[in-house]
Structure formats: C-alpha cells, structure tokens
C-alpha cells in the first residue's frame, strides 16, 4: 500500500513537473517547431495526470485528440508557412518583463491561497466513476452513459460548433 501510494506521489510530481517544464518550453522556444514538440510533451504529461485521477477515458481522449488531432494541425500549419519567416528576431513584445513580473506576483499570491483551501475528504465513493445505474462496468461506459443521456444537449451544440469551426477553417483558409 505504502509503496503504491508513494509511487503515485512520485508519478504525480514527475509528470506535473514535466508538464510545467514543457509549458515553459512552449512559450520560450525560438523555433515554433520546438514549441510544438514541447506542447506535445505537455499534453502527454497532463494525460498521465488524468490517469492518476482515475479519468482513464479522458486520458486516452487527451492523447488522441490533442496529441493526434490538434498537434497535427499545428505542425501542418507550421509546414505551410515558410520557416525563415517564422524565425523571430526577438521572441517577446516590449512589455514582456512587466507581464512576467505581474504573472509571477499573481501566481505566488494565488498559489499561496489555493494551498490553504480545505476541500475535505476526496473521492468518497470510487464506484461513481465506474458504475452505470448501480452495476459496475468501467469508466468509459460510465462517461458515455452520462454524456449521451444527461449531457446530450451540449453534445449536440458541440456538433454544431464543430461544423461551424469547419466552415470557418474553410472560409478563412481558402485561397483567393
């Protein structure tokens, strides 16, 4: 038990750190290609964090959609526009120092606050993630069930949303 717990702890710290480092990498790489790679790393790390919170389905979705779809989209665009143009002379806009300072202050302030928040005992009934109307099946089934039953409406709206996104991409991306 001990080992397992500590193992979880270790995993958390490792991947949390990885995610943050990768994120920093994203916004600090000169070459957008590298940024993209960092972004991918970040996605993966976050996926692991999901798994650690018993969101197996979400973890996988995260890997596929982000790591697969969105990543590809980015890379594709990066390919489309020619590289030499993307080599920025300087990475940041004028006020970046001020912004950085601001963010630093904000982060330290709120982190301090958030650490202090007491949410009480967590994950009191583990079965809620696995069971559908009482009988245990598995996370995917549970998610699917509630998604297609309780959250059908958002789901439909989401479909329209994606349609619009498609139109948008076409309209905006189309050559003249």
């Amino acid at each position: 038990m001990e080992g397992l717990i500590s193992g979880e702890v270790i995993l958390f710290y490792v991947f949390a750190a990885a995610a943050l480092v990768a994120a920093v990498g994203v916004i600090s790489m000169r070459n957008p290609m590298y940024s993209a790679i960092c972004l991918l790393a970040c996605f993966v790390a976050v996926a692991v964090l999901f798994l650690l919170r018993h969101a197996e389905f979400l973890g996988v979705v995260q890997l596929f959609v982000y790591g697969g779809g969105i990543m590809v989209l980015f890379l594709f665009v990066i390919m489309l526009v020619n590289f030499s143009q993307l080599k920025e002379v300087d990475l940041y806009v004028g006020h970046s120092r001020a912004a950085a300072l601001l963010v630093l202050v904000m982060a330290s302030f709120f982190v301090a606050l958030l650490v202090g928040v007491d949410l009480g005992p967590a994950f009191t009934e583990p079965l809620a993630f696995l069971s559908v109307e009482g009988e245990v099946m598995g996370n995917s089934q549970a998610v699917a069930w509630s998604l297609y039953r309780d959250y059908l409406l958002p789901f439909e709206i989401a479909s329209i949303f994606l349609l619009v996104a498609m139109i948008g991409a076409v309209v905006l991306g189309r050559e003249h």
Partner: protein
C-alpha cells in the same frame, strides 16, 4: 362738473395722441399748434369749472376732498401689514383722481400758465422743424403733470411723476441732432430716476407699514397709529423718519435740490418755452407739491423736516451765488429757479406748507415770465444766449423789456408784486419757527437774488449793444403770439401776490381773509403735539417786511452800481479782478460736478486719467459717475463672465478632452497589450472580490 375731473389730464393726452399718432404729418403747422393749445385750453377751462363746482360742494365745506376712482388698477394681492399686526390685507391700488384745495390751486395755475406757454411756443417754434413732435411732447407733458397733481394716491402721483420726467427727457433732448441735448436729457432722466428710487422705496415702506397708498385712507391710518409711525424702524430711524427721508430724496431729485440739482442747468439745452414750462413753472415744483401733500408724515418726522429746511436753505444760497457769475442768460434763470425752489423747501422744512405752495404759485408766474422774456430775447438775438454779447436791447424790444422788468421786480421781492408776499411769508415763518440762522441766510439770498436779477436786466437791456453788427440788424420785437403771453403773465406777476396778503395788513384787517391760507387750511393736518404755530405780532411782521425790502433794495442798488448805466460790464470785471478766487469758484459752480468726478476717481480704479481729461466746464456730474463706476464694474464683470464663469465651463471641457486623448492612448493597437490590460483588469476584480470577502 367736478365728476369729470379725470378728463382734465385726459384731454391733453388725447391732444398728444391726435398730434403724435392719428394726424401725424397730416396737419399744417398752425393746425398743429392750435390743436395743442385747444387741448390745454380745454383742460384749463375744465379745471376752472371743476374747482368752482368743488368749492360749491359739501365736501369743500366739510374740509374733505372729492375723489373719483375709475377702476382697480393694481390689485397686488394679500399682504401682511404692520398697522394691522401683520394680518393679511388685500392690498390694491386704484386709478383715482381727487379734488381738494391743494390740487385745485395747482391745476389752476398749471393749466393757465401751460396754455400761455403753448401759445407762445407757436410763435417761438415757428421756424424749427419737428414742430408736431414738439407739441405732442408738450401735451403729453401737460397730461402727465395733471395726473401727478390730481392723483388720489401716491402711485398715480408716481405715474405722473415718471411721466413728467420722461417728457422732460424728450423735450430736453428735442434737438436730438446735436451732441449735447440728448446727453443732457438722459442725464436729467437718470438723476431723476435716482430720486425716484428713493420715492419708490418710500412708497413700499408706506405699503408694508400702513397697507395703503390712498391719501385719505393712508393719512387717517397714520394719524391713528402714531406710536407705530414713530417706533424704531431701520438704520436707527423711525418709520416715518425712514419714509419721509425716502420721499424727500425723490422730491430733491425732481426739484433739483442739493445734491441732485446738477441736471437742471444742463436741462436748459431744451427749447426756451420748455424751460419756462417744465423747468421753472411746473415740473420742478412737483417736489414741493409732494412734500406739501405728505405734510402729515413730515410733521411726524421732525428730523427729516430739519434736514429739508437746511438743504433747502443751502441750495437757495448756493444757487444764488452761482447765478451771480453766470453770463448765459438762461443759466442765470436756471440757477435762480434752483434758488427759489430752495426757498420752497425751506418753507416746507419749517412747516410752512401753505407758504411754500404760495411761493410755488407766484413763482410760476414771474419765473415763466422771465424765461419767456429771455426766450424772446434769444429769439431776437438769433440764438445768442451770452449776455456779454447783448446790451441796450430795451430800445429794440420795449414790450419784452417792460415785462421782463416786471418779472425781475417781482422776483426781487419789491412790494406789492407777487414775489414779495410769498417770499416774505416764508422768511417770516422761518423766523417764527425760531430758525434764525436759516432766516439770515434766506435774507442774504434775497439780496443776492435782487442783485443777480438786476445784473441780468442791466447787462441785457441797458448800456450799449455789444453784439456783432449782423446781429444788430437782425434785432426786432417778437411777434404778438409771443408778446401777448408775456403781457398776461406780467399782469399775473403783479397781482398774484394779492391772494396771500398776511392777515391784518393794510386794507386786509379782516380775520381769515388771507384767501390762500384760508383756502388751503384743510390740507394741512393738525396733529396733537406737532407743528403748532404761534402768531407774529403785527409789529414784528412789519419790521421783518422792512428788513427784507431793504435788503432787496440794497441788492438792486449794488447791481445798478456795478452794471447799471453806461458802465456796462466794467465794474463786473472789476469785481472779478478784485476777488479772483471767489469769482472762479462761482464761475465753476463750486465745482460740484468736478467733486462728483473726484469721488469717482477714488471709487474706480484706473479710470482717473480718463476722467480728468473731461472738459472742466461740462463734466457730467452724476451721470458720468454712474456711467464710469458702472462701466468700470461692468467691464470687470464682463471679464468675470468670460474668464471665470465661462472659464470654468471651458476648463471642464478641456479636461474632458485631455482625458479622452489619454484614454485613447490605451488603445495602442497591439493585441498583446490588450491582453495585458484584460489580465490586469481580471486581477483587480479578483483581488477586490477576495478582499471584500476577507473582512
């Protein structure tokens, strides 16, 4: 007949309306003139009839007045009145007229003299343009003057009061094409307005204390509430004290007393008949009429009466001395008018209201006569007014000379002509009142009067002609239209005095046979403990008479000694040389106008130089002061408007504008900066919310 008293002022107004509006430019000159004369003449006849019927009426015997009220004029509304312990009283003024001895006397001589002067004017103005305008104004004036006299309450009097002021404004400025007359007119009007301000305040005080302006009602209330009347009011004065002071200011303005007399001499800029009618016979005496009318109040206000007496006396002396040094014949007469008005005020001051009115009465005749005479002289001299250019005119215009002489004797106070009785009565009353200093001053003034009047006569009619040859050829006696009124007035000047021979004198031994006194008795209220008069013993009266006559004769002799005979100007110059200081002072009229300016200099910053540049001879006294102070202040406040009041507004606008540009700076166009702004906003809100919750 008396029921139609309201027609008396109306008829001249109708005349004015016809001449001025309906038949404008549709009549020949004679038609215009005679239309006007008829209007006034009718008024004259009507007033005689009215007075006659009044004297036959019960009111007269019951010593009350006869009143006609046409309609409610100003129903102002409910008001808290002191005399009724602040109870609400519906205050309202009606347009009403009244006949009583005082108004009767006034209208009689006003209409009479007025008619004569109208007739005279036809001749005098024959060659002027604006003929119809002239007569319109003249009729208008008569209407206003009669309203003033006949009104049965102070407000109607005020109407006439303002009306005559307005007409004199028009008539002084009759020659509007020139620079000076309009200016003089405005000066007259505004100085009068200052007086009227006092008058108005007085009326207001009357209203809020006694709740009425109608003489009969008002004086009754006053007599009934004497303790209220004498109770303390504002500025440490009693109620009546305050009221009478205000009224006196008004009167002083209208009757050209110190300190408001400066406008009258300038008023001579108008046509001479106008000077005769308005600035000698009628309008200027309105002040005296008002005082006499308010005798109830003044009797209660001892202090003010004192003031009136002193001011009057001072004015008399001052004007007389100034007259000594004047070389313009009309100016001489003008100052003599001021001086005579001083006498009248003196009379009122010492409580001799009847005497005052009597002097008004006689003065109307001889002063009008003198003015018309001078007018005919000026006419003959082709507009020349400087006596140094005249001389020896008696050969050329005998009628004018004789009548003028009569007038002069009358004003000099030589019995038995009109001036003697009235002036002597005033002096007697003064003496009787125990005001010996005033009496002496009055006496001296009497002498001076004789002196400067005869000086004028000698310089004008005696000696050799000093004018240009071309003037000499032009000399002639005036037409009958002008001489006829002279004669009539001369007769008046001779006999007018006989109405008021002191009782027990000469063939006049019967008790109460002093017609004038006897007639005016009821107007002067007897108030317990106020203004009671003893009686002079016949002996003292004789002595006084002799003294004053002597003084007058001395004055005449002095005039003869210096100006009479062949000497001409000689001795006059002599005097001037001997006492240059005095002479200059007199010539400069005590520099009163300059004095007013000096106060201005102190009063208004920075305008000093500009003021000094004004021609010393015709510096425009008060009006200039008013004008400069106000223009100064006005400019100041103009700046205030531009730079402070508006300045603030513009400042706000400017600030807003700056702000706007500042805010636009935030919109730099750089999206990252926008993001920054958003984030900062978010942070501020979150902090705010957290802090709100933390306490």
């Amino acid at each position: 007949m008396k029921e139609f008293v309201w027609l008396i002022p109306l008829i001249p107004l109708v005349g004015a309306f016809l001449n001025g509006v309906v038949l404008r430019n549709r009549l020949s000159r004679p038609q215009v003139g005679w239309l006007a004369v008829t209007a006034v003449g009718l008024a004259c006849v009507l007033s005689i009839a009215a007075v006659a019927s009044y004297m036959g009426s019960p009111e007269h015997h019951e010593h009350t007045s006869f009143e006609v009220e046409l309609y409610d004029w100003v129903p102002a509304g409910d008001l808290e009145v002191a005399s009724e312990e602040g109870a609400l009283r519906d205050f309202s003024v009606s347009l009403g007229f009244m006949l009583d001895p005082l108004s009767s006397v006034m209208i009689l001589f006003v209409t009479f003299v007025g008619t004569l002067i109208h007739i005279y004017s036809i001749g005098y103005m024959a060659h002027e343009d604006g003929f119809q305008r002239y007569f319109t104004y003249l009729n208008l004036f008569m209407g206003a003057m009669l309203t003033l006299i006949l009104g049965n309450n102070y407000l109607v009097m005020f109407v006439g009061w303002e009306g005559v002021g307005f007409c004199s404004y028009l008539l002084i400025g009759f020659y509007y094409q020139e620079e000076f007359p309009p200016y003089a007119g405005r000066k007259a009007f505004i100085v009068n307005r200052i007086g009227d301000l006092g008058f108005m305040v007085g009326l207001l005080a009357l209203v809020s204390n006694f709740g009425s302006l109608r003489y009969s009602e008002l004086f009754a209330t006053v007599a009934a509430n004497i303790e209220l009347a004498e109770s303390d009011y504002v500025l440490g004065m009693s109620v009546v004290g305050f009221i009478t002071l205000c009224l006196f200011i008004g009167a002083a303005g209208k009757s050209a007393q110190i300190p408001l007399f400066v406008w009258l001499p300038d008023a001579m800029a108008g046509p001479t008949p106008v000077s005769a009618l308005i600035h000698a016979a009628t309008m200027v005496t309105a002040g005296v009429y008002m005082l006499a009318r308010s005798n109830v109040l003044f009797q209660l206000a001892g202090g003010t009466s004192q003031l009136v007496a002193i001011i009057g006396c001072a004015t008399a002396l001052m004007a007389a001395t100034i007259a000594l040094a004047q070389t313009d014949i009309k100016k001489v007469l003008a100052y003599s008018t001021v001086s005579q008005l001083g006498y009248m005020f003196l009379a009122c001051g010492v409580g001799a209201y009847v005497a005052a009115i009597f002097h008004v009465f006689t003065h109307a005749f001889f002063k009008a006569l003198l003015f018309l005479g001078s007018g005919s002289v000026i006419h003959a001299m082709g507009g020349e007014q400087d006596m140094r250019q005249m001389g020896g005119l008696r050969k050329f215009m005998p009628v004018t000379y004789k009548t003028f002489l009569v007038g002069t004797i009358a004003i000099a106070g030589i019995p038995p002509l009109a001036g003697f009785f009235s002036k002597d009565e005033i002096l007697a009353e003064t003496f009787l009142g125990g005001h010996y200093i005033l009496w002496i001053v009055g006496l001296i003034t009497a002498g001076l009067t004789a002196l400067y009047m005869f000086r004028a006569v000698y310089l004008t009619f005696h000696g050799g002609f000093r004018g240009t040859a071309e003037q000499r050829n032009h000399l002639h006696e005036s037409p009958t239209l002008m001489t006829m009124p002279l004669v009539v007035l001369a007769v008046g000047a001779v006999i007018a005095g006989l109405f008021g021979i002191p009782e027990g004198m000469l063939f006049n031994a019967v008790e109460g046979s002093n017609l004038f006194h006897h007639f005016l008795e009821p107007v002067i209220a007897e108030l317990p403990g106020h203004g009671e008069h003893g009686h002079l013993s016949l002996g003292v009266e004789w002595i006084l008479i002799l003294v004053s006559v002597a003084v007058a004769v001395f004055g005449i002799l002095a005039a003869w000694r210096n100006y009479g005979g062949p000497v001409g100007l000689g001795h006059g110059e002599e005097w001037a040389r001997r006492f240059p200081g005095i002479h200059r002072v007199l010539v400069n009229k005590y520099s009163v106008d300059e004095f007013y300016d000096a106060t201005v200099v102190r009063g208004t910053w920075g305008l000093a130089r500009q003021l000094f540049r004004f021609d010393g001879a015709v510096i425009d006294g008060i009006v200039m002061m008013v004008r400069h102070v106000t223009v100064g202040v006005a400019l100041l406040s103009g700046f205030f408007d531009k730079y402070v009041v508006d300045g603030l507004v513009n400042l706000v606008a400017w600030v807003l504008n700056r702000f706007s540009r500042m805010l636009r700076k935030v919109q730099s166009g750089l999206v990252s900066q926008y993001a920054l702004v958003v984030v900062v906003g978010v942070l501020m809100l979150v902090f705010a919310a957290v802090i709100l919750r933390s306490q």
